[in-house]
C-alpha cells in the first residue's frame, strides 16, 4: 500500500495522463460504473437513480454498464426502459446465466472509461461511496478496494468464512486485503482490462491483479442490508476457495517459472525417498541383504519416481508457458513508474 504518487506509463496512456495532469473537473478521467445484474428487477431502478445522483454531483463524465447475467425476471425490460432515456446507460445482455465473474469481465470489456468502478446490483453497496474510491485513484493508486466494515450479513454463514478466506488470501498472495468479497472497487481501465478474469475469479480480482503489482488502496465503505430478493451467493464452500487460492498462487508467483513451483512440490518426495533409501542402505550394510525391508525400499522407489514425474510436469509447464500468450512483461508495463531526471531532456523525450 505504498502510495507512489506520480505514475508515468508507456505509450498512449502516458500521453493521455500527461495532458490530463492539471485536473480540472472537466478533464477528470471518464468513469464507467459496472454493475452485474441477476434477477434484480426491483433493484434496477433505485440503483440507477442512486448512481446517477451520486455521480452527477461529482461533475465528471461517466457511463454505466449494466450486465444482465441471464436474468429470468424483468431486469432487462426495466433496465432497457431506463436506457431509452439515458444514453449513458449501456446494457450488455447475456444469452444465459454465466456467473458473476463472466458478468464482471463482460462489463470491463464493454466499458469505455479510463476508470472503472464495479459494484453489486443488489444495493448493498452505496453509490455515494464511489467518490471516495475516485479520490484514491486520483491520488495515484491503481486499484481501490472497498471494505465493508459494518457488514450487514449473517455472522456464521457469511462473515466468519469470509474473514478466514480473506486472511488466507492475504497470506498466500501477499496482498493483505480486508475484504475481497466487496464488489465495490475501482480500477484503472488500462490495468484491469489486461488482467485475465475467468472461472470464479471475481472473488479474487485484487489477488489476480496482484500479478501486475498494482498500488492498492483500501477504504471503508457503507454496506446496507439487502432490501429485495434473495442473496445469490451463499456460504461458498471452503474447498473451492482453497483450490482457487492454489491456482492464484501458481499463477501469481510461478506462472513465468513453473518448473520451480513443481520442484518445490517434489522436494518432500525427494526427502522421503532419501530417508527410505537411507534406511535400506543402513539395513543392507549392517545386517546383510536379508534384512532389507521390502515395503520401505518400495516406498522409496515410489517417492523417487513420483518426484521425477513432478519435475517432468514442471518441464511440461515451462513448455506451456513458453507457447502461451501471457507474459510478465505486459503486466509490468501496466504499473511501472519511470523516473527520468530533468537534467537530461533527451532521454525524457525518448520515453
Amino acid at each position: 500500500m505504498s502510495g507512489a504518487k506520480s505514475t508515468t506509463r508507456d505509450g498512449n496512456i502516458d500521453a493521455a495522463q500527461r495532458t490530463a495532469s492539471p485536473r480540472g473537473p472537466g478533464l477528470a478521467p471518464r468513469l464507467s460504473v459496472i454493475v452485474p445484474l441477476y434477477n434484480e428487477q426491483e433493484s434496477v431502478r433505485p440503483l440507477y437513480e442512486a448512481i446517477v445522483r451520486a455521480l452527477e454531483e461529482l461533475g465528471r463524465p461517466f457511463e454505466m454498464v449494466f450486465v444482465d447475467d441471464g436474468s429470468k425476471d424483468d431486469t432487462v425490460p426495466v433496465a432497457a426502459s431506463l436506457a431509452r432515456h439515458d444514453s449513458r446507460l449501456r446494457i450488455v445482455k447475456f444469452r444465459r446465466n454465466y456467473g458473476q465473474t463472466a458478468a464482471m469481465a463482460a462489463g470491463i470489456e464493454h466499458a469505455n472509461g479510463e476508470v472503472l468502478v464495479t459494484m453489486d446490483g443488489d444495493l448493498q453497496n452505496d453509490p455515494a461511496d464511489i467518490a471516495l474510491l475516485l479520490e484514491q485513484i486520483d491520488a495515484g493508486f491503481d486499484l481501490v478496494v472497498g471494505w465493508r466494515h459494518n457488514r450487514q450479513d449473517k455472522l456464521i454463514t457469511r462473515k466468519i468464512p469470509s474473514r478466514i478466506a480473506n486472511w488466507l488470501i492475504g497470506r498466500v498472495t501477499g496482498v493483505p486485503i480486508h475484504d475481497n468479497g466487496c464488489s465495490l472497487k475501482a480500477f484503472r481501465a488500462s490495468l484491469i482490462k489486461r488482467i485475465p478474469l475467468y472461472s470464479e475469479m471475481h472473488r479474487f480480482i485484487p489477488a489476480m491483479a496482484s500479478i501486475a503489482g498494482p498500488r492498492v488502496a483500501q477504504i471503508r465503505v457503507r454496506h446496507h442490508a439487502r432490501r429485495w430478493g434473495q442473496s445469490k451467493y451463499g456460504l461458498s464452500r471452503i474447498y473451492k476457495v482453497l483450490l482457487d487460492l492454489m491456482v492464484i498462487k501458481t499463477i501469481a508467483s510461478f506462472a513465468s517459472r513453473p518448473l520451480r513451483w513443481f520442484a518445490l512440490l517434489s522436494l518432500p518426495l525427494f526427502a522421503l525417498a532419501f530417508f527410505a533409501f537411507g534406511q535400506t542402505a543402513v539395513d543392507l550394510l549392517m545386517d546383510g541383504e536379508d534384512a532389507i525391508s521390502l515395503p520401505i525400499a518400495g516406498s522409496g522407489v515410489i517417492f523417487l519416481g513420483s518426484a521425477l514425474i513432478l519435475l517432468c510436469s514442471g518441464a511440461l509447464a515451462e513448455l506451456i508457458y513458453a507457447r502461451g500468450d501471457v507474459r510478465d512483461r505486459e503486466f509490468l508495463k501496466l504499473t511501472q513508474t519511470i523516473l527520468a531526471g530533468p537534467r537530461n531532456p533527451e532521454t525524457d523525450r525518448a520515453l
Binding site: 449501456r90 446494457i91 445482455k93 479510463e114 472461472s199 509447464a317 502461451g324
Partner: protein, 351 residues
C-alpha cells in the same frame, strides 16, 4: 423466410459414413421432396467421410441425371463431427439441417424439425414411437440418464442424426472428435435455445442393434469428455484437485495410522505392505493435483482468447430525449468498443 435468389435458405448436410443406406439415391429423393415441400430454397451437401466408392457412384449418377447438390469427398474417415464441419464450410444457407445417411426417421417429419426453429435456435429430432427390445431401451435410458444428469439437459435421443439449427449455432461451436452426438449440449452451453421434436422412426431403423463392448467404452469416454468440458474447462483444478486431495487424504490417513502403530504399539513399519499402498496413494494424489495445476496454467496462458460468456445483445440508445448534459458519450474514447455488438438475430425459418 421467403424463397430468394442467391443463397438458399436451407442447407442440408448429409454426412455419409460407414453406416449408410443401400440406395442413397432413393434416400436423397425422399429427403429432397420433403425439404422442397416446405417451400424454402435449399441446397444439399453430401460429405463422403473416407472413400465410399459405391455411394459416390450412386451420387454421381444422380448428378448426371441433372440433380443439383454438392459432394465433398474426404480422403479418409475423419469422423462425423469433422464431416459435418466440412459440409458446413461449403454451405451458405441461413438454416443448417443435418440428416442421417441411412433411413432413421420418416422424411415426412423434416418439416416438423424446420417448424420448430421459429421458437428455438436448434431443433433436434427424437425417434418416437421408438422400437427396440428391452436391452436396447435400458442401454439408451442409462446413457441418456447419465448425460442429462451430468449436463443438466433434458434430451431423449442423442443418436438421432436429424437436426436443424440456425447458421450461427454451428459458427460458434468448435466441433471435434466425436462431439456431433453432443451438438445440442454444446449449443446449450453457449446459451442457444434447443428443443426436441418427435419424429417417427423409419421402418428400416427398427431392427435391434448389437453393440460391441468397444462402443460402450467409447460412449462412456465421450460422456466423460463432455462432463469435463461442461464442468471444468475453466477450472481444471476443481476436478483434479478434488480427486488428488481425496487420494492424498486416504494415503495420509493410512500413513498416520501406520505411524501411530509404530510409535504407540511398536509395530514395526518394515513388514507392513500397507506402507507401500499408503506411499502410492500419497504420491498419486500429488500427481493428480499437479496435473490440475498444469491445466490451470494452460488456461491462464491462453486466457486472452478465452471468453466465458456470449453476449446476446447490447442495448444503448444514442443520445435520446434527455441527452446527458455532461456530454460524456460523444467523447471518442474508444471507437472500437463493443465488438460483440450484434442485433438479436431474427428467427430463422418460418416455412
Amino acid at each position: 423466410m421467403k424463397p430468394q435468389a442467391a443463397p438458399p435458405s436451407i442447407s442440408v448436410i448429409v454426412p455419409v459414413g460407414a453406416r449408410r443406406a443401400a440406395d442413397i439415391g432413393a434416400l436423397y429423393r425422399e429427403y429432397r421432396s420433403n425439404v422442397a415441400a416446405t417451400g424454402a430454397t435449399h441446397e444439399f451437401i453430401f460429405v463422403l467421410d473416407g472413400p465410399r466408392p459405391e455411394a459416390r457412384r450412386a451420387l454421381e449418377t444422380l448428378l448426371r441425371e441433372g440433380e443439383e447438390f454438392t459432394i465433398v469427398n474426404l480422403t479418409r474417415n475423419f469422423g462425423e463431427a469433422a464431416a459435418l464441419t466440412a459440409g458446413f464450410e461449403r454451405s451458405s444457407g441461413g438454416t443448417i439441417v443435418t440428416l442421417p445417411a441411412y433411413p432413421q426417421i420418416e422424411p415426412a417429419d423434416i418439416r416438423k424439425l424446420l417448424a420448430g426453429l421459429s421458437t428455438a435456435d436448434m431443433v433436434i429430432g427424437y425417434r418416437w414411437p421408438r422400437h427396440g427390445n428391452a436391452l436396447d431401451r435400458a442401454r439408451r435410458a442409462a446413457f441418456h440418464g447419465l448425460v442429462n444428469w451430468v449436463t443438466g439437459a433434458r434430451l431423449r435421443d442423442l443418436g438421432c442424426g436429424a437436426r436443424a439449427m440456425r447458421r450461427q449455432v454451428l459458427e460458434e461451436i468448435d466441433l471435434y472428435g466425436d462431439q456431433h452426438r453432443f451438438l445440442p449440449i454444446l449449443a446449450m452451453r453457449l446459451g442457444f435455445r434447443v428443443s426436441e421434436t418427435p419424429m417417427r422412426q423409419s421402418a428400416l431403423d427398427r431392427h435391434a442393434r448389437i453393440y460391441r463392448p468397444r462402443e460402450y467404452m467409447h460412449h462412456l469416454l465421450d460422456l466423460f469428455s463432455i462432463f469435463f468440458l461442461m464442468r471444468f474447462t475453466k477450472k481444471p483444478l476443481r476436478f483434479f484437485g478434488m480427486l488428488g486431495a481425496a487420494t492424498f487424504g486416504v494415503g495420509a490417513v493410512l500413513i498416520a495410522y501406520l505411524g501411530m502403530d509404530r510409535l504407540l504399539f511398536s509395530e514395526p513399519l518394515a513388514d507392513r505392505p500397507a506402507l507401500l499402498l499408503a506411499a502410492l496413494l500419497l504420491v498419486l494424489g500429488m500427481q493428480v493435483f499437479a496435473l490440475g495445476l498444469l491445466g490451470e496454467l494452460i488456461i491462464f496462458t491462453h486466457a486472452r482468447g478465452l471468453k466465458d460468456y456470449r453476449v446476446e445483445e447490447i442495448i444503448q440508445y444514442p443520445d435520446a430525449v434527455a441527452a446527458s448534459d455532461s456530454g460524456s458519450d460523444s467523447a471518442p474514447a474508444d471507437p472500437a468498443a463493443s465488438p460483440e455488438m450484434r442485433a438479436t438475430a431474427p428467427p430463422a425459418v418460418t416455412a
